[in-house]
């Protein structure tokens, strides 16, 4: 069961930076290679990365290099290739930040042909 409300999933085609900034969890929109198009405020504050610096960089290899493995980036690539991606992964961020347990939800929105990484903190 994902933490992402249906009300968000149904309006991904029109979800912009401002709307994403108002949500109480991490929202990252990426292209098929993982390059960041939207990086919301919650995610920026949690990761300690400025939003302006993140946009245009690759999420998996440059901004969150701890996700550059088969568990996350591998699943993302497979899903994008298949045009079907709806995976949740329990994860721990440790790179240049306090250890933070999170749930990652990788999602491909068929309607808008867009890719999303949603992030929510979880208890250890």
């Amino acid at each position: 069961m994902s933490f992402v409300p249906a009300s968000i999933k149904t309006r991904l085609a029109s979800l912009d930076q401002d709307s994403a900034d108002r949500e109480p969890f991490g929202i990252v929109k990426v292209d098929d290679s993982g390059t960041i198009e939207i990086y919301n405020r919650w995610e920026a504050e949690m990761a300690g990365v400025e939003q302006d610096r993140a946009v245009g960089k690759n999420f998996f290899t440059q901004i969150a290099p701890c996700t550059n493995n088969r568990l996350v980036f591998g699943k993302f690539r497979k899903g994008v290739e298949a045009g079907e991606l709806d995976e949740t992964v329990n994860y721990t961020f440790t790179y240049k930040m306090k250890p933070t347990n999170v749930v990652l939800h990788l999602f491909h929105d068929r309607g808008s042909k867009s890719n999303w990484v949603f992030v929510q903190k979880r208890a250890a």
Binding site: T61, Q62, P65, N69, N90, T94, K96
Partner: protein, 150 residues
């Protein structure tokens, strides 16, 4: 300030103490594990400073020292990567690793960040690119091995 001086600044004992306190609190390390972590991190920091002191004596243009620091950056970056894999492959299996492993990953990543304070911004980008290419090569070799049933 000289590169040697910069390294003494970024890896100072005070900074080291603050780092250990912060990490120990974040992952709720016990006293014994905290002492172990301090010993491990101090050994790495001292190794960097010893390198700086020794090389700087005969390295007026600091070329050898800068090159060595790049090498140490790779060493620590991959040490962090190893701990990161351990933590997250455990997490997807529903297992929580020992707090000391989390502390090692966090403190090693911080040492990487400290070294980056003395590495030029453009060089940091190139190093990140090198890590990406190395990772791509490792994945390529692993996939080829899997294809031939290795």
């Amino acid at each position: 300030m000289s590169l040697r001086g910069e390294l003494h600044r970024v890896a100072s004992l005070r900074r080291l103490g603050d780092l250990i306190d912060e990490v120990a609190e974040a992952v709720e390390l016990g006293p014994e594990d905290t002492a172990t972590l301090f010993s491990e991190v101090a050994r790495k920091a001292n190794g960097i400073l010893e390198l700086a002191t020794t090389i700087a004596e005969i390295d007026e243009d600091e070329i050898s020292l800068y090159s060595s620091i790049i090498g140490v950056w790779f060493e620590l970056r991959y040490e962090w990567d190893r701990n990161n894999q351990l933590i997250n492959f455990s997490a997807v299996q529903g297992r929580q690793v020992e707090p000391l492993v989390l502390a090692r990953a966090t403190s090693t990543a911080r040492l990487v960040a400290w070294l980056e304070e003395v590495i030029e911004a453009a060089d940091r980008e190139r190093l990140a690119g090198a890590v990406e290419r190395f990772k791509a090569l490792a994945d390529e070799l692993a996939e080829a091995r899997a294809e031939i049933g290795g």
